[in-house]
Amino acid sequence: MSAKVLEVEGLVKRFRGVNAVRGIDLSVHAGEAVALIGPNGAGKTTCFNMIGGQLKPDAGRVRLEGQDVTAMTPRLLWRRGVGRTFQITTAFASMTVRENVQLALNAKAGRLNRVFGRMTVAFGKEADAILARVGMSADAERPCAILAYGDLKRIELAIALAGAPKLLLMDEPTAGMAPGERVQLMALAASLAKRDGIAVLFTEHDMDVVFAHADRIIVLDRGSILAEGPPDKIKADSAVRAVYLGAGLASGVG
């Protein structure tokens, strides 16, 4: 197996009495797409926020390519190759689609302290290449403020890709999208993971998407890991069926 990109050990987070995450271990390898699933409130977003630097864990360690990055700021993590999309999608609404990606590329090149010269003259081609990869070429000139939600999700992915990530964290990347679009977006993310050797960790509610594109699945319930394994094993796991997937699984996978 390829190198471990992300390694999480004993991660814990409490919010005023709520044990949101209670000691989680997980790892993601280069080129691997791992799905973190679980009912609402299971602690998935909290987990992501601790890995992405938005929250400080109460206990536990996060390692990136073997180095301890626990409680680093999102910006430092970004510099080390962590890209992420948020559950509540945001893009830079006062810019066009291409400008969003160009800005991320300018950031990567360390050009943000320049007060002279147009931002848009740099990395136009590179931005277009990334937009082509997420299927947004036709919309490059459109203002982000008027985009549909599904398109925003793709822009967020494009912004994250502009940072040339080694680890991609995607929190509910397909929520709010039409079913067809969902499979398409996750197929894209999974293929990127394979092609560029990016480690992808994502959460997802749509089981079709999860079983189709995850190499491995981790099931979270009330802050703890309930089960872990390849899709076939998770499908068959009776504990998972009982607690989380319920009777709907069979029909859902069909």
Binding site: S94, M95, E99, L112
Partner: protein
């Protein structure tokens, strides 16, 4: 200080508590209105002033009725002011629900101007002495001193009101709705509540409280036309220090500020003006959401900016600008001194407005104290020129450096906050700078200002100075435009659009905002330096809140969504103000009405109006 006997300390403490009650009356209304409607109501002080004037008139009518007459008048004044508040909400603010959140603020500035002239027309410019409160005119002996009974009564009013409001909010359906709306606006819609009725009743309650505060002030101090702004600023301080949305916080901070003021007069008379704002600065530096505030309460102003894509100037706009510049450059051939002086001043205002737009339009940091940097630039230039005997060119260069240095300090404090908190902290910083310019007489000449800052040689003539101003203005505006389209300018906007996304994409949000703050301060300083030479003098008013408000009006009036907006706004507002002031008695009211009309017709500023007109005009021509 003189002898500090225990009774003096006690009396001052009681005075402080009495002031605290007055402050709380006004601040609680402001807090409730903001909490539910998210309107930063600058007219709240005007409601207070109206309450005082109405109370004065009513009590004089019913003087013979004794106590019932007095208290009836106070109550009637409060109710009338409440009704005025409802009118303002229904006629103006309700129509702006869909507009960006700073536009209701602009509308309330308009209301302030109108109320000022209405009060002037009805009650005249003289201070009016109020009546004593029948039954409460006596004194009680406290240790060796005498203390007015009315003050004791006021001391009780604060906690009583707090208790009453607490019951109202905990025990009634209306209170439940108010609390729900304060915490989560979407929730109210989900509860199926008639939002319009809720907003109107909240405005009634809040305005009536302000009116009550004004009327109850009658036995304490004379009614005058300057009460409105001074009171609303103090009320904002109280609300912000206490924490937005917290009535208990508002009362605690009213007590804190009332008592600090009372003892400040005793111990630190030299810096009384600064003291309150110093306290506010310290509280916000330590507790960014106020004493009792919670994260996220005051975010309103940040999302206020329209999400319009910035575009480089079109060929038409370029031509119009070039033409305008050429026209101004040719003024010496056809225009008189007055016109050239006015245009020079408007150019300077355009730079000031553009610098504020850089901060609030691009950076998303609405500042209520941007004039501080304008004024510091002006003082910097004047002190370099008169004090250090530097040549004019060097003095003009000194101006932005002085302002940028101040911006470095102020920005470091301010960018740690956002929304209303940031706006109020910037106001605090500006008030401190203003008070310094006022009370540091040895350096600034105090109220008398610095005089004789006249430009030498070829620039002494109106035409010479106009051309110099034109050149510097064009350079400054071009530089701001270039910065807006630079990688830094985009990063600054990204930090405003989506701070979390920006941080996760390698953008240091605070650093960008801090740098943006300093750049905006520097350009305001350029404007201030030029202004010093244009006027030949510098006064504390250059830093005063009125100037900051002017800047806000110019930016919002012109349109916050484009870089041209502030320039148009500066010419429209500055030009209108100068013309009206010179020719009409009640110029404030007319200016206020114009602002209201514009806000209602064009809730995204003049540039927005032009934009939609162009789009509308172009539509039929475009193929479907």
């Amino acid at each position: 200080m003189t002898v500090l006997s225990p009774d003096i300390l006690l009396i001052q403490a009681l005075n402080g508590l009495a002031s605290a009650s007055s402050l709380f009356l006004v601040a609680s209304g402001l807090s409730i209105i903001f909490g539910v409607t998210r309107v930063v109501n600058f007219a709240h002080g005007s409601f207070y002033m109206l309450g005082a004037y109405l109370g004065w008139s009513l009590t004089h009518r019913v003087m013979t009725l004794g106590a019932p007459g007095f208290w009836g008048s106070v109550l009637a004044a409060a109710l009338i002011v409440g009704a005025v508040g409802v009118l303002v909400e229904m006629l103006i603010l309700r129509r702006l629900r869909r507009a960006p959140e700073l536009y209701p603020l602009l509308a309330t500035f308009g209301v302030v101007l109108i109320v000022q002239d209405v009060a002037l027309a009805i009650w005249g410019p003289e201070d009016l002495l109020g009546p004593r409160a029948p039954g409460l005119t006596g004194f009680v002996s406290i240790l060796a001193s005498r203390f007015p009974v009315y003050e004791l009564f006021l001391i009780a009013v604060g906690p009583l009101l707090l208790g009453g409001l607490w019951l109202l909010f905990r025990r009634t359906r209306f209170g439940l709705l108010v609390r729900a709306a304060t915490q989560d606006r979407e929730m109210v819609a989900a509860l199926g509540v008639d939002e319009r009725r809720l907003f109107s009743s909240v405005f009634f309650l809040g305005s009536a409280l302000a009116g009550l505060g004004g009327a109850l002030q009658l036995p304490r101090e004379a009614v005058n036309l300057n009460m409105d702004v001074s009171v609303v600023v103090e009320a904002f301080v109280v609300v912000v220090v206490g924490g937005l949305g917290s009535l208990v916080g508002a009362y605690v901070s009213a007590v804190l500020i009332g008592v600090i003021q009372a003892f400040g007069i005793l111990f630190l008379p030299k810096i009384t003006l600064v003291l309150v704002f110093l306290v506010m600065g310290i509280v916000l530096a330590v507790r960014p959401y106020g004493l009792f505030g919670r994260f996220g309460e005051g975010e309103g102003l940040r999302s206020s900016v329209q999400e319009t894509v910035l575009r480089p100037l079109s060929a038409t706009s370029r031509a119009v600008f070039t033409l305008a510049v050429l026209l101004i450059a040719a003024m010496p051939f056809f225009a008189g001194d007055y016109a050239m002086g006015l245009i020079a001043e408007l150019l300077i205002l355009a730079v000031f407005a553009a610098s504020l737009h850089f901060l609030m339009g691009l950076g998303g940091m609405a500042s209520f104290g941007h004039a501080a940097f304008f004024g510091i630039g002006a003082y910097g230039a004047a002190l370099a020129f008169k004090g250090l005997q530097w040549p004019m060119a060097a003095s003009l260069v000194a101006a932005p450096f002085a302002a940028a240095f101040a911006g470095l300090v102020a920005g470091w404090l301010c960018v740690r906050l956002s929304g209303v908190y940031l706006a109020m902290l910037s106001l605090a910083v500006a008030q401190i700078a203003w008070a310094a310019s006022f009370q540091w007489v040895a350096l600034t000449g105090g109220d008398n200002g610095l005089l004789g800052v006249w430009p030498p040689t070829v620039f002494a003539s109106r035409s010479g100075f106009l051309l110099l101003t034109l050149a510097l203005t064009v350079a400054a505006l071009a530089a701001l435009r270039i910065a807006a389209f630079s990688p830094f300018g985009y990063a600054l906007r990204a930090a405003r659009d989506a701070p979390r996304r920006a941080e996760a994409s390698g953008i240091d949000v605070r650093a960008m905002q801090w740098a943006g703050f300093v750049i905006a301060a520097a350009f305001a300083g350029i404007a201030g330096g030029l202004y010093a030479f244009a006027k030949g003098s510098v006064f504390p008013t250059y830093l005063a809140i009125g100037k900051s408000v002017d800047g806000l009006i110019m930016v919002l009036l012109g349109g916050i969504g484009s870089l041209t907006g502030p320039i148009i706004g500066a010419f429209a507002f500055g030009g209108l103000e100068a013309e009206l002031m010179a020719s009409v008695a009640f110029w404030r009211a007319i200016l206020g009405l114009v602002i209201l009309a514009l806000v209602l017709v064009a809730p995204s500023g003049i540039m927005g109006l032009i934009g939609t007109r162009i789009v509308k005009a172009a539509k039929p021509a475009a193929p479907a």
